[in-house]
Symmetry: C3
């Protein structure tokens, strides 16, 4: 059996029995303390709402922001936990890690995001408190999305402790770049093409570059999918695809703002599907489709409309964005990913470069152009002010200037992703985090109690008297059933 | 190995590397041009909404139709992509095609539907434009549903190009019959018993009849399910079942109209489950249940309440409809489907006759009867006018006349389904669409790069020295792991 | 082959071809009759709503309760059918029973619940009718949840007829204890820590205790999961987890009440995930995680906040509750479940003691304490009255008294669970319900037509001339493909 035991040798110590519980406990206790000091209900979720209503002459409870945003929030919530989680289950033996670690880091990340975003965006100067409501929950989920995107690049190659560290710093960086882009530059980015996708994409890619594994081919047998893991991944794809209109509209203006963002995103994504299928089919000799493209590139349109979804990009404009994103993203999987891996030494498990980084940059550019091209004749005088929030310090800003700041915002998100990723990657390179050996990557058995393999790789030892003992090569367990072979 | 290569012979050319990309690209470009010419945001999704609000004295953004319909829209959206997509994954090796082609044709269909329905229902005579909002998106999804129903009849037997052609014509026919039924006949059909299910059902069945394959038994090994494919299908079943109240209420009247349609559909579907289980259990010697029935017939009540859901059918009336639909649909699977296949030469992969066509007709009849039986004492004077929209040209219509027009509407939907299906079926019979040979039906390998089979059908070649080479009969790949057999 | 036929011997008669259809038909007909006599649309779902609006000076349709509660209702609906259904699919060969019987009993239960809850809570004394609207549907789903929890304890060990009987009595008991707790004691329990989870948990555990099977080890080979069944279960886990904020807020007060319940539950559940992971990792030598814990204990926080979610427990308070629930629930799986089975003879398939019973009791206690600690300075004068509904007969109740009644409510739910479970368990012990033999527990083949096993346990008979006939040991079918072995 010597030959097969090779698969199970461990050159690295992946014991996380100390680090994982300690990190979870200490960080969760820290969260409780910080929440105790800083976080309070906002006036729409506090029992004093009845007084606020009377004071502000609000006639109906339905005016509570909850009813404007809760359905969208729940859709976003599904995208974060089921969408991202299941999209990554495509690997044949890393589905537990995909959906389980996604669950873990999102649950931590959203707490930390409420604090970080609160400090930067909504710390009340008088009371020193952060007041949260449903919009805060959406923003926390958004912030987490950036880190889950980054997880896609390192899927299967890191330990859960590394993922938690990556999320801690990712959320922190996110809150800062978001503050710069949205508050200082006053750029618009409701669906986060720049803030979420570009940042998250480059953050993950840079970390993956720092953690480059030259001998990753040793776990080649675990890369790739099996039939049913591809179908599980389609659950993730579809929930992301269907609910992306909610993602891009969740925090846009009440009324026409949310309404328009939904229409644009819906159309853009539909268009993306057709060009993804076209390019995928072109890439194979007999026109067969590749599940990797269908699972991922069909979503690129949603990413690329993250900034412009609330603008008057017009329905056909949304279709055009989707048209090109499907093409570019699919060609990314065919041509760019191999190039990144071979030449730039970036191992990108889920191809986040093609699904998030590149479409995110496209989205930033589309946003800058459509902002610069906005006009009072199309938007109406008040409509223009509302859409770009040309109020307060920014009431004299022109659309051309706005376009420039949008472009500047995109550069900020790239810089934060690359520089932040390089620093965090270096931290994650320390040999204390329990990451798996090259030959054990993409294997749930490293961090999970795995019951039984889905597919049996069997070893038969046929005994002289006709029986046979059967070993399972994946789990090394002797199967319960002894096969009977009568010769 | 000669015997096994038989499975992989191809008498037909299934190379779609030219046709599929061309169709996708050309049609998508056509969509962009037509959208550019015709489609605009409606007044509730345009930045001028702020002016509309002031003009119409609307006090709150929550009055935007978006907030009345968006949660229902998202539920419908899930039904279209996850519901229909996963319901069809029950076949052991056609789940990629089920969920993937469903994704493709729905994405194309909804764009084409926005145009077709716009031209027929909401083309502004002055500007020549179609103004879209959230209700348009719901209607587009509805229109697509008709084509996805039809897909169920031909699942596994057609190429994606054929499906796109079927969708192009299906959406076109749908928009016309819908215009005749809803606008000219002024019939009510909020949940589409007639317009969606009856039309879609007969459209698909007729196409399947035209494309009859006498030698389909050659792919018998691929028909039927495996354990996990049946569970995937239950994801589709449940999301359809749970969200059907949203489907039937998505475009009904604000307020009590949506509220009542939800209650009726919820009750009707619950009742259907019990009688489906009863008949399914009766059909087996030991009372065992059949997954095919549970996956499909439990939904028949939702179909059959598509017309009457918004009427005052009363809670027990809804239960009665569900009661009979569960019985009839399940008996359809047991008795009628085999009859259709053997005698009428209609091969209906998903049994859409039992789930959509027959319950759709029942729904039309129930709608006609309940409309004819409506009375001012039950509905109230204004309630009756609102429910049946007895305004404008139709302000003098009686409920009896309305019942007659409802019945006429049902006939229109059947005629459009059968005649349209016959014509489209003939077009699809042309030998240019890349459809699979009889022995390759229900097999994802024809149109998809398939990674690895879920279940191994193995061929052992035991070598003289004790090793063995193992071939995988489904994918014809040599397995990576060479089994070792020590005799 | 004699040795293997052992697996398929049946000492018990599991033929349910008579009982199951009879129960389904008779009960469904009874529902129709009772609905005909008692159930009517309420004024917000009746066509007379247009008159109600005018009479009550309601200016907009959006004031209809439908728009406050429908999104939450649909989330709850998903939890009941997909959440509970898929959570129980973890067993390797009982997924049909998990998701299918869950579907059946929930569909029956919600009808019966509308009647039972109607009679106890909203029977109009003048007309003798029950008027239903969207809130009634939510409450019916809630009531069903109690029975589905109980199903978790007996999963795989009972027949569908037994489950229907269990649901009939479960719903009945639920309506009575709910009436006592909410109406007579005037306790608050919007998310049902006591009314749903504590009752359902003890009801199921007591039934399982009465139905104790000393020889359950005979079906040991069917206990436990396979890789993909664990991923299916995660679908259930995540939909429960994501939508739990909707569960706890679905019937709370309009406005801040729903808003606050969402925030509290969202935070509490996030905290639970981290401590669950920590304890799960601590429980294994190398820090590996156990899927059972991740699937179940991560949800304990939602259960424990069922009572207090609408209170001003404050964000950090919610985090603290989640913190301890994750620890206690996971330790329950590690230590208490084995103890219950060995010492107390309670076989709890899904560990509902750790997910529902124990966290439910914690939730009752948390509710009592936070109610007793409520103050006008935190809630505001009117806020306090609104939150605890100190109106009518209860307008002079103090928060301390309220805390006492909350605690009393919890005792009521435990007593109803245990006593009711003992009685119903005795009824279910009658040898007429078609329950499976000990060696056939956890096996879908008893009640379902099962197509093909997911994993093959093969029996080879190698023939003299080199061929081999392969038998499938699970399904006893001869495989279609005859392996060829060349020696």
């Amino acid at each position: 059996l010597t030959k097969h035991t090779y698969y199970f040798s461990r050159q690295k110590n992946t014991n996380i029995r100390l680090t994982l519980p300690v990190v979870c406990f200490v960080w969760q206790i820290a969260m409780i303390i910080l929440f105790g000091v800083f976080i309070r209900y906002d006036e729409e979720s506090d029992t004093h709402w009845v007084e606020t209503k009377a004071h502000d002459n609000i006639t109906s409870d339905i005016e509570n922001d909850f009813y404007f945003r809760y359905p969208s929030f729940q859709d976003v919530h599904v995208m974060i936990f089921v969408g991202f989680g299941f999209l990554m289950t495509f690997l044949k033996r890393y589905s537990f890690g995909a959906v389980g670690f996604n669950f873990l880091i999102a649950s931590f990340g959203l707490q930390w995001a409420l604090l970080m975003q609160g400090w930067f965006h909504s710390l009340d100067p008088q009371t020193g408190k952060i007041f949260i409501g449903v919009e805060s929950l959406i923003n926390a989920d958004f912030c987490v999305a950036g880190c889950l995107i980054a997880y896609g690049a390192v899927l299967g190659k890191v330990s859960p402790v590394q993922l938690l560290v990556m999320t801690l710093f990712g959320v922190t960086l996110f809150a800062v770049e978001e503050y710069i882009i949205l508050n200082l530059l006053h750029a618009r980015d409701a669906g986060g093409s720049m803030v979420i996708h570009t940042f998250g994409g480059y953050y993950g890619l840079t970390i993956s570059w720092v953690l480059y594994r030259p001998n990753l081919h040793q776990s080649k047998r675990m890369q790739g999918s099996v039939y049913h893991s591809d179908i599980f991944a389609m659950i993730g794809t579809l929930f992301l695809w269907m609910f992306w209109p909610s993602f891009n509209s969740a925090i846009t203006d009440h009324g026409d703002g949310q309404h328009r963002a939904v229409i644009n995103t819906y159309l853009c994504l539909a268009s993306t599907v057709l060009t993804t299928v076209a390019i995928s089919s072109l890439s194979q000799k007999t026109g067969k489709l590749d599940m990797v493209h269908i699972q991922n590139s069909t979503l690129a349109g949603g990413v690329a409309l993250g900034t412009a979804a609330e603008f008057m990009i017009s329905p056909y404009g949304a279709l055009i964005v989707g048209f090109f994103c499907g093409i570019i993203s699919t060609m990314g999987y065919i041509f760019i990913s191999p190039f990144l891996e071979k030449t730039l030494k970036i191992q990108d498990t889920c191809g986040i470069h093609n699904l998030h980084a590149m479409p995110g940059v496209i989205g930033g550019i589309v946003g800058a152009i459509t902002a610069a091209a906005a006009s009072e004749s199309v938007y109406g005088k008040q409509g223009l002010i509302n859409t770009f929030d040309f109020t307060g310090d920014f009431k004299d800003r022109t659309v051309l200037t706005q376009g420039g700041y949008q472009a500047a915002g995109m550069c900020v998100s790239i810089v934060f992703g690359v520089v932040g990723g390089a620093i965090v990657g270096s931290i994650l390179k320390l040999p204390i985090w329990g990451d798996p050996a090259d030959e054990n990557c993409f294997d749930d058995e490293v961090y999970w109690e795995v019951s039984e393999p889905a597919t049996h790789h069997l070893l038969f030892i046929i005994q002289p008297l006709g029986g046979a003992i059967v070993f399972d090569l994946v789990s090394r367990d002797e199967l319960q059933t002894t096969f009977e072979i009568f010769i």
